[in-house]
Structures are given as C-alpha cells and as structure tokens.
C-alpha cells in the first residue's frame, strides 16, 4: 500500500490511465470522468490535510532511491506545501469543470495531460529531495507544451516553443545550482535532502558561492514567476492557451516560481538573501509598475489579464525581499489569493470569448446588458484583484506593504564601484503602492469598456452564464470572500512555519544580551522592542 503522499501524487496518473481506456467517442463520459476524478483527488487531498493536522505530522516518507548519489525519494508536507497542494488539487478540479464548456477535441489526450501536470505539481510541492524536486519540476513541461501546442490558438507553435525554451533556459541554471550544492558538500556529505542541505551544506559555503547558487535557483524561478524582463513568454502562452490551461498557468504554475524562491533561495541562503534583497525588491517594484503600465494599453482582453497577473506576482518579490515574517507571509498569502483571482479572471475571459469569439476589447462594450451574471463575476474578480478589502487580495497586499515599510532590509541599494543608490525599501514600498492605483485604473477601465456603456448591435441575443461556468466562478468567489473576511483562518496553517523561515533574518542582528532581557517581557513588547532596536 502506498503512503498517503505517494498515493496523492500517483492518483492523477491512475486517473489519466483510466481516462485513456474510455472509448474516445463517449465525450460526455470522458468529461465527467475527468471532473469526478479530479474532484475525488481534491477530496482526498483535503482528507489527508485534515489527517496531517490532526496527527500534527507532515506525513513524511522516504527511501533511498539512488544511494550512490545520495538521492532519496522523500516527500513531506508542511503548512506551506499543504497550501499549494490544496490550491493545485482545487484549481485542477475547477479547470476540469471549465474544460467541459471550452474543450472539444482530443479529449482523452487533453485530460491525460492535465492529470500529468497535476502529478508534476504535487510532486514539486511535496518533494523533500532536490533531485526529485527537479524531476517533477521538469515533468510539468512536456504536458504543458502539448496543451498549448495542440489546443492553442493561432500562434500556438510560437507560444509553446517559447514557453519550453524559456523554462529550460532557467532550468539549466537551477540544474547547475543543484550540482553546485551537491559538489560543494564536504567529503561524504553529498546529499540532496532539503533538511541536510540547509543544516550541513549551506553554512559551510562562502558568501560568494551562496550568492551564485542563490542566483542559479533564482534564475529558474524568476522566469517561472515571471519577473521582468523574463516575462514575455507568459502573455504569449496565455493568449494561445485554452481557458482551463490559462487558469492553471496563472493559478498554479507561476506559484512554482514563488514557492521555489521562498523554499530554496530565501530560506536556505539568508546571507545571500540579505545581499540580494535590494535588487529583488527593485525588480519586484518594476514588475508591479511596468507591467501595470503595459496592461493599461492592451487591446486584447486576455493579454490585459495576463499582464495584470504578472504585475500582481511582483508583490511576491517585494514581500520576500522585505526579509521579515510579514513579507514572507504576505508572499504566501499572495500566492494563494492570486491563484484564485487570476484563475477566475481567465475564466471570465474564456466565458466572454466563448460567446463573442473575439478578445478585442474595442469590439466589446455594454456586455453587462446581455450577460449580467458574467458582468457580476467579472466586476467581483476585478475588485478582488485590485485589492478590495474583505476579498482575498487585500490581506496579501496589505501584508506586503506593511512588510516593506516596516522592513529593515536595506536603506540604500549598493551599486557599482562602491556607490549606493539612495533608495530605501520604504521608498520602493511607496512606489509599489502606486501599483494599487494603477491596478484599479486598468481593471476598472477594462470593466468599463467590456461590460458597461452602449452595446454594439451585433451582441444582441448573446446568452448569459451557463451552469458549469457559474459553478466554477461561484466556487472561486466564495473562497475569495471567505479568505478575505477571515484571513486568519487561512494564515494559521502556514503562518508559524513561514514566520520561522523568516526568523533566520531577524535573529542574527539582535545583540544576545538584549534578547535574553527581552524574553521576560510580554511577547508583543519584546518584538516591538526588537524592531525598534534594529532600526537604530
């Protein structure tokens, strides 16, 4: 019998095999089988999550796979992993439902590919061995390539090749970084195990080596995130990908980048992180502002949403670069809320496209008249995306802003030749906050041009939402509201661990004597005091 996490990872493969033996002519059966399987997988992941909570266990499992190289097959699920695992199984289920109304050809292959991606994603978030992680990370590539290349739009070849090459380009750096860690380990210490790497290998590395390996990982993840200037594959991929694939792409695939940055770069290399933080925050802010500018003038609705998605991932970078517990938690929160909201927005784009068969904003207008329910959901998700309080985006963005402003990460940005740019993280945070104004501008102008105003005659008679679409959008809406109103109901699952990850940045700057003295005071006071001391 498989252990829980192994079972979870292999279930989608089993589902793919079952789908493969259904006769290709029974299209309804295939649709429903896929939906039901993905629903079951979601339910099982929830069940194991509950079990993991009840037992206070990470459900870890491990066996020596290739002992000669110290490679283990090792899985475990902490709070951070669980959040992303649940996001994966949840959004996978929703995109299967969304596929019912938007995919019409080669269903068996299509669903098999989706399930394969699910396995890869679960593997990525659950691996506790670097080699295994890399395998799963690469495994996602081929099905995604096929999904875009077969079910894509007009320029699908270009978009799918660009996606693959770009990812591989980044993976090469990560591979080098992984080899670096492997080779740099002391005699007989060679390992790919997360825990051992963090405790044994990394402390022995020099700062410059740390920075190099950090950057090797970072290169792969910043392409995935994506970070300007490595982002141009994403809008192309989105525009060509069918709706459910876009939902997955924005909803989960990008989170592999964010997850990797937190899990490897920032958690493992605090010294390198401190050195590089100024630039990462700078790039994060560029991400937010620059792509918001681009989103503003897009003629294609899906491209607008794609750029908006890139812009919002910038908050993850800023949060991580703040190097404190608030920022790390904000980044994780943003991963989850961005996952929900951007998937929902791509669903909206898909529902509109299914009716109008165009994505050009200029051709739309006043659609709220014939599709009031889609207008409602579109407006709702736009509001969530621009960070309206009581919806999921707000806690994430708030945490990131407060993190940035209260951060002591840097007060100048070191520049070439010993120079320093007089830009503090506070300044950058304020600039990032302009992003909320810009997001409101492009999203509401989008709503204005798509749904309100006078409607062109030709759209008379278009139908409103259908049941499967309404199901997907309402489920997303319910979760968006629930997280927005009760953020602590979500943060309690990952906050302790993520806060601990950030503690490596806080502890080392505190004088030991102060720490001891502070321990007798109330916790709140201690932390507030420490913060003030770090500021002086």
């Amino acid at each position: 019998m498989l252990q829980p996490l192994s079972l979870l990872i292999s279930l989608p493969v089993i589902a793919a095999l079952v789908i493969a033996i259904i006769p290709g002519t029974k299209e309804r059966t295939i649709h429903w089988a896929a939906t039901i399987f993905s629903g079951i997988i979601f339910a099982i992941s929830l069940y194991y999550f509950q079990g993991s909570l009840a037992l206070k266990s990470q459900l870890a499992e491990s066996f020596n796979w290739l002992p000669a190289f110290g490679i283990k097959y090792s899985l475990a699920a902490d709070g951070l992993s669980w959040m992303l695992v649940l996001l994966t199984t949840f959004l996978m289920f929703l995109s299967m439902v969304a596929s019912q109304s938007s995919i019409g050809k080669r269903l068996k292959l299509y669903y098999s590919m989706l399930f394969l991606i699910e396995t890869a994603l679960l593997g990525v978030f659950l691996s506790r061995d670097l080699f295994l992680f890399f395998l799963f990370y690469e495994l996602e590539l081929i099905p995604m390539y096929l999904l875009i290349a077969i079910w894509g739009g007009a320029r699908k070849e270009y978009a799918s090749i660009k996606f693959v090459l770009y990812t591989l380009f980044g993976s090469a750096f990560m591979f080098a970084a992984i080899l670096g860690i492997f080779l740099m380990a002391g005699q007989g210490q060679a390992t790919f195990d997360f825990g051992l790497i963090a405790s044994n290998v990394i402390p022995g590395l020099s700062l410059s080596t740390q920075v190099l390996i950090f950057l090797g990982f970072f290169m792969a993840f910043c392409i995935k995130l994506p970070m300007v200037p490595f982002h141009t594959w994403l809008p192309d991929a989105h525009v060509e990908a069918p709706t459910p694939v876009s939902m997955l792409l924005a909803g989960i695939l990008l989170k592999m980048g964010a997850y990797g940055m937190l899990r490897f770069c920032f958690a493992w290399f605090p010294e390198a992180g401190s050195v590089l933080a100024p630039y990462l925050v700078l790039f994060g802010v560029i991400n937010i502002i620059y792509t918001a500018g681009i989103a503003m003038v897009q003629a294609d609705l899906k491209k607008l949403i794609a750029y908006s998605s890139v812009s919002h991932m910038g908050f993850v970078l800023v949060g991580l670069g703040a190097l404190n517990a608030y920022g790390f938690n904000g980044a994780v929160f943003q991963m989850i809320s961005h996952g929900l909201i951007s998937a929902g927005l791509f669903m909206i784009v898909g529902t509109i496209y299914n009716r109008t068969h165009t994505r050009l904003i200029a051709e739309m207008g006043g659609l709220g008249k014939v599709m009031p329910a889609i207008y409602f959901f579109g407006l709702f998700l736009a509001m969530a995306s621009l960070g309206l309080p009581l919806l999921a985006g707000f806690p994430a963005e708030s945490l990131v802003f407060y993190a940035g402003y209260l951060s002591k990460a840097f007060s100048v940005i070191p520049w070439f030749g010993g120079q320093a740019l007089p830009i503090s993280i506070q300044t950058l945070t304020v600039i990032a906050a302009i992003g909320v104004v810009l997001a409101a501008a492009y999203l509401l102008w989008m709503i204005q041009r798509v749904f309100t105003g006078t409607m062109p005659e030709k759209w008379n008679g278009l139908g409103d939402i259908i049941k499967s679409e309404a199901f997907v959008l309402s489920v997303i809406a319910i979760f968006t509201v629930a997280i927005g109103i009760f953020p602590n109901a979500l943060t309690k699952y990952f906050e302790p661990e993520v806060t601990k990850m950030a503690s490596v940045y806080a502890v080392k700057k505190q004088p030991v004597a102060e720490k001891k003295a502070a321990q007798v005071v109330l916790p709140e006071k201690t932390l507030a005091k420490n913060l003030s001391e770090r500021s002086h």
């Binding site: 080098a176 620059y290 003038v297 709220g368 509001m383 409101a440 309100t452 709140e524 507030a528 913060l531």
Partner: protein
C-alpha cells in the same frame, strides 16, 4: 439581542439583507418588490439597535471598546473591533435615520426600474460598509471600510451602467478615491513605522483610535516637525478624496449620474462626511502638527469658496446641489483644521439632514418633471408640487443659515471659529455663506417660482416620497436650536468635543455679520432670479464673461486631469508597452533566433537533430562551472 456587547450586529443586519437579495436574484426566486422590505427591515434593526445601545450607554458615557485579531503575521497583528463614544453614536444615528428615510423614498423613486431589487442590494451593501466604518476600532479597519464605502458608491453611481456617462463617472469616482487612499495608506504606514513600539507597550491593537493621543505624543517626541506634517498631510489625502476637497474633488459632481436617492444618501449626507469623521478620529495626529492643521484649514476654505463659485453657474439642479455639498464639506474640513472640532461635527450632522432633504426634493422634482434636471426647463413648480416646494424652501433657508433653522447654529460656530482663528479664512467663510445664500435661492427661484418653462406635465410625487421629506424637515428646522446649548437643552459641544474645546459662548457680533451676509445673498438672488427680478442675469454674465467661463468650466480641473490621464499616463503606458514589445521581447526573439541558427549549423554538421534542450542545458552548465571554478581558484 439589542445591547452594547452586540453592537457589531448593527452593520451585520444590512449585509445579511444584501446576501439575501443577491442569493434571491441569483436563483431567481426573489419577488419583484421584496428588496425594499428586506432592506428597510434591516435598517430598522440597525436603527433600533443603535438607539437601544445608546440608551444603555448614556448613564456611563465611557468609551467602550472590543477587538479581535483579524490578520496575523509574526508580531504584526491587525484587529477588527468596535469603539463607542459620542462621535460614533452621533454618526450611527445620522446614518441609520437618514438611510431609513431614503430607503423608504427609494421605493417611490425606483418603482418603475427593472433592477429595483439590485438597487436595494447595493443600498444594503453601502449601509454595511458605512456603519462598519463608523464603528471601526482602529485606523486599519477604517481604511478597509473606507474602501468598501468607495465600492458601494462605485456600484451605485454606475447603477444605470448602460449609460456611458454613468459608466465613466463611476470609474472616475473610484479612481480618484484610490489616489486619495494611496496617500492614506502611505500615511498609515508611516504612522505605524514611527509608533510601532507604542501600541505594544500600551497593550492595544495597532492604530487603535483610543491610542491616537498617546501615539501623537510619541510622534511629537521622536519625529521632526516636517515628518509629522508629511504624515498628517498624507493621511489627509484620504478625506481629501472622500469628502471631495480640492484638488481631488472632480468625481463628486460627476457622481450625480447615479439615481438621486444615492446622491442624497451617499454623496451628500453620509459617505462624503466620512472624511470629516476620519479627521475627527485621528485628530491628535493632526493636532500635533500646525502645518497639517493649516493645510487642512486652507484646503477646506479654498474648497468652500471654489465650489460655491461653480455652484453659481450650474443649471443642472443636482449639479448645483453637488457643488453646494462640496462647499459645505469644505467648511467642515476648514473647521477641523482651525481646531473647531465640535463645530465641524455639528455642521456635519445638521448638513446631513437638510442636504439629504434638498437632494430628495430635487429627486422629487426630477421625478415629477419626467427626468428633467435642467432648471431652465422648470419654474413655477410651487403650485404643482406644494409639499416638495415647502420642504425645499425649508432646506434652502436651513443651508443659508437663518435663525432658527439648523444651518444657522452649526455654520455660525464655524464662522466664529474662523473669526478667532484666521482673518482671511473668516472672510472666505463669509464669502461662502454669501454665495451659498445666493445660489441656493437661485435654484429655488428657478425651480419653484415664476411660470413653468418645460414641456412635461409636472405632478407632486407619491406619498412614499413626500413623507420622508416632511420627516427630514423636522431636524432641518429644529436640530440646530435643540443642540445649540442656548435654550436650556444640553449643547452639542457637551457631547462631542475634543480635549478642552467645549461649547463656547455665542459670539453675537459674528452671528450678526453672518446673518447679514446670508440675507444680502438672498436679496441679491431675489433681485436676479425671482419672478419680480430687476436685474438681468444674462447681462451680468456677459459683462464678466471670463470669470463666468472660469466658474462654469469648474476652474478647468477636469481638463487638467483629462490631460494628465490622457497624455502623461497613457504616454507612460504606451512607452512600457512599446519597450516590452520591441526591446524585451525583441531581445528574447533575437536570442532564440541566434540559438536556432546555431542549431541549424550544428544540425548540418552532425547530420541529425540536436535537442535544443541538451544544447542549452550543457552549454549553460559548462559556463556556470567555468565561472565557479574561476571563483574558487
């Protein structure tokens, strides 16, 4: 059920009503006119709860506070809660009473609308947001509901979203408020940055209003005056947008695109006054910086004058009232800036009632004239709509500030505070009073007196609309007198005051001047616009053409902002887009092209296919290790 520990339910009733209607609409099970019943019931609950809680609170009158953690990350804990003191109760009473009357009125006004239930749903959402804002325990929480009232306003302005002008107005309102909120957010961040320790030591949630005085003392001790001023002014950017103060005011007149009940409830009585309320809540932070206080006072004063000048030239009855609202808000803000805390809030309260009434009257007129808003198409409506006429006249006298109507007492206190505070602002406030009397009577004469000039068949509105007007007339007449503190009752200053500023004895000189100014405004208006006019308005307009142009074109703010968003912002956006397409993506495609060219060369060399995967992978790996090796040796 109705008690102080459960006051958090006050905003919960309307949100439940909202959910009920939304679900009913989604599943298409809601009867056609059920929305009004649900929402009015919820408002009654909020109202009763408010008064019961007030009754329980009255004997002690001690500040009541409760909170719970809402968002936790490490040692950063944001809390939600409620705080009860006199300003909160005053606002609760204003919001619940005005909104109840408007919800009743709406039934008549929106009866024919196919989206009647949706309208009531939005009204309930607004009530939820506004009541939560009023009850907020800390600044972070207030910021949340501050945005929520903004979105309710957005939804209601664009209620008739197929109208392009309404669709544009709703976006404009939201964006301009977002600009203000950006300042507010940064101000809050800076405030927390400098006072982070204080909240923990005081043992209260971050940014609690009850700790603002303490926080301001910390600021005063640790932060230079310039920083203090910047924090205050940044926070003030929020109220600047929400209360339509210069230069973030242009959304308010456009917001009149929304149905009239909304203009009365949100854009006259409650939401726009939230700016003044926020200032009251963070008053200690403002007070420690004279620069901030000066800025607030001058912006308020300037807004009062500028808005009044624009109101002089408007022909749209709702636009004229909108500029009047802006002008009155300017007076309130100016009062806050001058340290006249009590006067500012007092005027907020009286204004909420008589301005809501004036707007509802205009709605009644518009309803009666079959959706005509241009006053040149009205006239002589006094005979056709006697009750609307009566209430409008009361409202006009109230806002003009004639004894003993409500506006007299509150406005007088503001003018008196300007008199003792700053001579220029005193003259500006007198000028505003004068213009207010002039343009308000102008709208009155143009609408209700003389001969009917339009082409519809005006009729009095149904009782469901007129009754709320009559009820609102009561506070418009009596509230000022009742709370003036001059006639035996407790004065407003005994309830709502800040620090040692209580109610001060009436200044009869200022009262005399203010009344004289108001009356002369009325006389001038009479001479120009009444049926017995002796002057011709048009000839005066022609004589002062450039000035009139400036006023009629709203001092060209819209043109300026149109230019800024149209050229500066779009230029930035287009530049980004161009750069992205040509430079960033160009480089990517160029790299891909060179790699694939290399690949073709290699393919020729090896007579077979080379996986680009391997090429890139091995190439980069080798390169990286070469570099690593160099680093290590």
């Amino acid at each position: 059920m109705f008690s102080i520990p459960t006051v958090y339910l006050i905003p919960i009733y309307p949100i439940l009503a909202f959910l009920l209607i939304v679900l009913g609409l989604a599943f298409k099970v809601l009867p056609k006119k059920a929305g009004s019943l649900i929402v009015i019931a919820s408002t009654v609950l909020s109202l009763v709860h408010t008064f019961v809680a007030l009754g329980q609170w009255m004997p002690t009158q001690k500040l009541v506070e409760a909170h719970m953690p809402w968002l936790t990350a490490g040692d950063l804990v944001f809390s939600l809660g409620y705080m009860l003191d006199w300003p909160a109760f005053v606002m609760l009473i204003v919001v619940t009473t005005v909104s109840l009357l408007i919800h009743i009125y709406t039934h008549g006004y929106m009866e024919e609308d196919p989206n009647y239930n949706r309208f009531y749903a939005y009204l309930a959402l607004f009530n939820f947001s506004m009541l939560s804002l009023v009850l907020s325990q800390n600044l972070f929480q207030m910021y949340m509901f501050w945005e929520m009232v903004g979105v309710s306003s957005y939804l209601l302005i664009g209620f008739w979203f197929t109208k392009p002008s309404a669709a544009a107005a709703q976006v404009k309102a939201f964006l301009m408020n977002r600009v203000g909120d950006f300042g507010l957010l940064v101000g809050i961040l800076a405030l927390l940055f400098f006072t982070f320790n204080y909240w923990g030591q005081a043992g209260i949630p971050f940014l609690s209003f009850s700790g603002m005085t303490g926080a301001s003392e910390v600021l005063l001790k640790t932060v230079p005056a310039a920083t203090l001023a910047i924090i205050g002014i940044l926070i003030f950017m929020g109220p600047m947008a929400k209360s339509a103060q210069l230069p973030l005011h242009t959304w308010l007149p456009d917001a009149m695109e929304g149905p009239t009940p909304i203009s009365a409830l949100i854009h006259a009585a409650t939401m726009v006054a939230a700016g003044v309320y926020l200032i009251a809540r963070v008053y200690p932070i403002f007070e420690v910086s004279p620069v901030t206080m000066q800025t607030v006072a001058w912006i308020g004063g300037a807004t009062a004058v500028v808005a009044a000048t624009i109101a002089l030239t408007q022909y749209d009855i709702k636009k004229a009232l909108a500029y009047s609202t802006m002008s009155q808000l300017g007076l309130m803000v100016m009062a806050m800036g001058l340290g006249a805390f009590t006067a500012g809030i007092f005027h907020l309260v009286t204004h909420a009632y008589f301005k809501a009434m004036l707007f509802l009257c205009s709605g009644s007129v518009i309803h009666g004239c079959h959706h005509e808003q241009d006053m040149r198409e009205m006239g002589g409506l006094a005979k056709k709509m006697p009750l609307t006429h009566l209430t409008y006249l009361i409202g006009t006298i109230a806002i003009t500030g004639v004894l003993p109507f409500a506006g007299f007492f509150s406005k007088d206190e503001i003018i008196a505070s300007a008199f003792s505070g700053n001579q220029v602002l005193f003259i500006m406030s007198l000028l505003t009073s004068f213009m207010t009397a002039f343009y308000m009577f102008r709208t009155y004469f143009m609408t209700f007196t003389g001969e009917y000039r339009g082409h519809a068949h005006p009729h009095e509105s149904p009782m469901v609309m007129v009754a709320p007007l009559l009820v609102l007339a009561l506070p418009s007449v009596l509230l000022g007198l009742f709370l003036s503190g001059m006639f035996g009752f407790a004065g407003f200053g005994d309830f709502v005051s800040y620090g040692h500023h209580g109610h001060h004895s009436p200044n009869y000189l200022v009262m005399g001047i203010a009344t004289a100014v108001g009356v002369s405004g009325f006389i001038l208006s009479y001479l120009f616009y009444s049926p017995k006019a002796v002057f011709n308005a048009q000839s005066v307009i022609n004589t002062f053409k450039p000035v009139h142009q400036l006023f009629a074109n709203k001092w060209y703010f819209d043109e300026l902002y149109g230019f800024m968003s149209g050229s500066v912002y779009l230029l930035f956006a287009n530049a980004c887009s161009w750069f992205d397409k040509t430079v960033v993506d160009g480089l990517v495609n160029f790299t891909a092209f060179s790699v694939s060219s290399t690949g073709s060369v290699l393919r020729v060399l090896q007579q077979g296919r080379v996986q680009s995967y391997l090429v890139i992978l091995s190439f980069c790996t080798v390169l990286f290790f070469a570099w690593l090796w160099l680093q290590l040796h």
